[in-house]
């Protein structure tokens, strides 16, 4: 066991997968010297060289398009798109090709591409470097959406994403890069299957489905709620697609109440899709309407004070839970 940060966990997963499979290649901006946005790619260029660790021009279109072509012909590319907002640049590749080619080819073409990207407010980086596109991403058929909240999960999920024969996007939150967030990570290899939720805290009164940074905010809210005698169960789906519906339904059977807390504008959100699924499939177990805690339907503001209002937080969750019971 070794105490490991999110960045180290991601870096280890990349080393292990590049070692395991010579077809794993990486395309991205500034991956060579900087190890890309935050150093998660550090050391890979030195070990695997310019053929497998490819420093590209500022060309998201060429990165993702190139990854698609390489994947179709036997490679297993990782395409680094620094921030989710930049997916707009390669929207055609993402929406029309990466995720439709298999279907349109009658199942003949396989595209094992992993997109790695950042999102997340809290850093006063402004809308172009903070936005979450989760709602949009889950609405794209055939794209698996991986949203780790801890270093341990990040490592196991990234390895599975790379090995998956389908397009996946692995989204990291800027605020989880802090050095104080560490997990003990086993020395032996492990993977975490895509589509398997994790109960981050057991509880009995309300089920809270939370993702990424919101898992941590829910955990701290849980402490405060416990002092008031309220017990929440926190479920981290870990992947939005595929979604571990059963884990959520099982929890709702126990608690009868559901809050879905995600960092994204509310309309068309991943939280909305998830809520609809649970409303359809577990209505009989619910004692109260499902509540969503999301951001307002606006871009992410820059000013720290506005950004704080924009982001869902502990108080929002405490208020929602208290009102529910």
């Amino acid at each position: 066991m070794k105490e490991t940060t999110f960045l180290q966990a991601v870096n280890e997963a990349l080393f292990e997968e590049m070692e395991r499979d010579p077809n794993v290649i990486l395309l991205g901006e500034d991956v060579r010297i900087w190890g890309a946005p935050r150093g998660e790619f550090k050391g890979l260029f030195d070990k695997y060289g310019p053929e497998r660790v490819i420093d590209t021009p500022i060309s998201e279109t060429a990165i993702l398009g190139g990854a698609i072509g390489a994947a179709a012909t036997g490679m297993r590319p990782i395409a680094n798109i620094m921030y989710s907002s930049f997916l707009g640049v390669c929207g055609d590749e993402l929406i029309n090709h990466l995720t439709q080619t298999r279907y349109m080819s009658g199942g003949k073409i396989k595209l094992p591409v992993t997109i790695m990207s950042y999102f997340g407010a809290g850093f006063s980086a402004g809308a172009h470097h903070s936005s979450s596109l989760h709602g949009l991403l889950v609405s794209i058929p055939a794209l698996k959406v991986v949203v780790p909240s801890t270093p341990y999960d990040a490592k196991g999920l990234l390895k599975s994403a790379i090995r998956d024969d389908n397009p996946t996007i692995f989204l990291s939150h800027q605020m989880l890069m802090r050095r104080s967030l560490k997990d003990p990570i086993p020395d032996e290899e492990y993977t975490i299957p895509l589509g398997k939720a994790d109960v981050k805290r057991e509880g009995s009164d309300v089920t809270v489905v939370a993702t990424v940074l919101m898992v941590h905010r829910a955990l701290s809210a849980a402490e405060k709620l416990e002092e008031k005698g309220i017990s929440i169960e926190i479920i981290d789906p870990r992947t939005l697609v595929p979604l571990d519906k059963q884990a959520i339904i099982d929890s709702v059977k126990k608690t009868g109440r559901l809050v879905v807390m995600t960092e994204e504008p509310s309309t068309g959100s991943a939280a909305s899709t998830l809520s609809a699924i649970i409303a359809e499939e577990a209505f009989d177990f619910l004692d109260a309407p499902i509540k969503r805690i999301n951001a307002p339907d606006t871009p992410v503001p820059f000013s720290p004070i506005l950004e704080k209002v924009w982001m869902p937080d502990e108080e929002d969750l405490i208020a929602a839970v208290t009102e529910m019971i």
């Binding site: 060579r32 500022i58 980086a125 172009h128 506005l306």
Partner: protein
């Protein structure tokens, strides 16, 4: 080329203003008073100043993530800029945009775009509008060397060429895009050569020589105003600081940094003005001092400006 004395002095003043603004901003950022990402223009001042000295307030510019210099050169007020960087209501964007996104339609700043290359077709659109409205306005598109590798550079320049629009593309070739040298991502020695692919004029100038920039852009602007279409000016320069504040710049060879430090456009222009008798040493010092005071006042203005009210989160989403 004869340039009026007042104009020369003003160009010097604006370069000093950009430098002093950023020096202060860097300090306040390090002290934790300015949040977010900060990309400084230090070392590249001659490009924005030489370019904008050809413009009137109603001409347009699009800016980038490294935009402080563009905004100040186009006439932006340092106090309202500072307030924006502090996330205050008195800021140009009411604290909603921050350092990378200062916009002011009052002086033709259509916006600054944090996503590399986004400003290019937008500047083309502004030029289209100027042409349709039959004004003699031009649009200036500032972009980096790295941005010339994006698809929209090629699509934007080509459209401008086909429609013969009054837009000038100013490539600020500062050698790097983040940690990556332009020579590793583009096989042309001069990025101005990209112009010939679209059938428009392209020139490369010494970007640390404010008068060279002024002259080259001046010709392009004059052509554009006469309806002769777009042009491209590559300004060879160097950013003297990191890509963003906090960048250790390990990718820069020390000799290269030293060489460019010696080519710093501000001492160079100051020396020139003094030698030409345009400015006396003590006049230059007075300008430096006045600007320092202005920047101190800008910080005071920012500090004293109120924070946005929480409800402001929901405003300005739609017209």
């Amino acid at each position: 080329m004869e340039i009026a004395r007042e104009k020369l002095i003003d160009m010097y003043r604006v370069m000093v203003r950009i430098r002093a603004f950023e020096k202060k901003v860097s300090k306040e950022f390090a002290a934790g008073n300015i949040p977010g990402f900060l990309h400084l223009y230090t070392g590249e001042e001659a490009v924005a100043v030489g370019t904008c000295a050809n413009l009137s307030p109603d001409d347009y510019i699009t800016s980038t993530h490294r935009g402080h210099g563009h905004v100040i050169a186009k006439g932006g007020k340092t106090d309202r800029m500072m307030a924006e960087l502090y996330g205050k209501v008195a800021g140009y964007n009411k604290g909603k945009g921050g350092s990378m996104h200062i916009a002011d339609m009052g002086i033709g700043i259509i916006g600054a775009y944090g996503i590399v290359g986004s400003g290019i077709p937008i500047a083309v659109g502004a030029a289209l509008s100027a042409k349709l409205r039959k004004t003699d306005q031009v649009a200036i598109c500032f972009l980096g060397d790295g941005a010339t590798n994006t698809g929209r550079f090629h699509e934007g320049v080509n459209l401008a060429a086909c429609l013969n629009l009054p837009v000038i593309f100013i490539i600020e070739n500062n050698v790097y895009a983040e940690s990556t040298r332009i020579s590793d991502t583009c096989k042309l020695a001069n990025l101005a050569d990209r112009a010939c692919a679209y059938g428009i004029p392209g020139v490369t100038v010494e970007g640390n020589d404010v008068l060279a920039v002024y002259e080259a852009v001046g010709k392009a602007v004059a052509r554009a105003r006469k309806g002769q279409g777009p042009a491209l000016v590559e300004c060879k320069t160097y950013r003297l600081r990191g890509h963003f504040e906090g960048d250790m710049q390990t990718y820069k060879p020390p000799e290269e940094r030293e060489m460019w430090q010696k080519k710093d456009p501000i001492p160079r222009f100051r020396k020139y003005l003094i030698k030409k008798g345009v400015l006396a040493e003590k006049d230059a010092e007075r300008i430096d001092q006045e600007i320092d005071e202005e920047i101190e006042n800008a910080v005071k203005f920012a500090e004293e400006s109120p924070l946005p009210a929480p409800e402001e989160v929901l405003t300005d989403v739609s017209a």
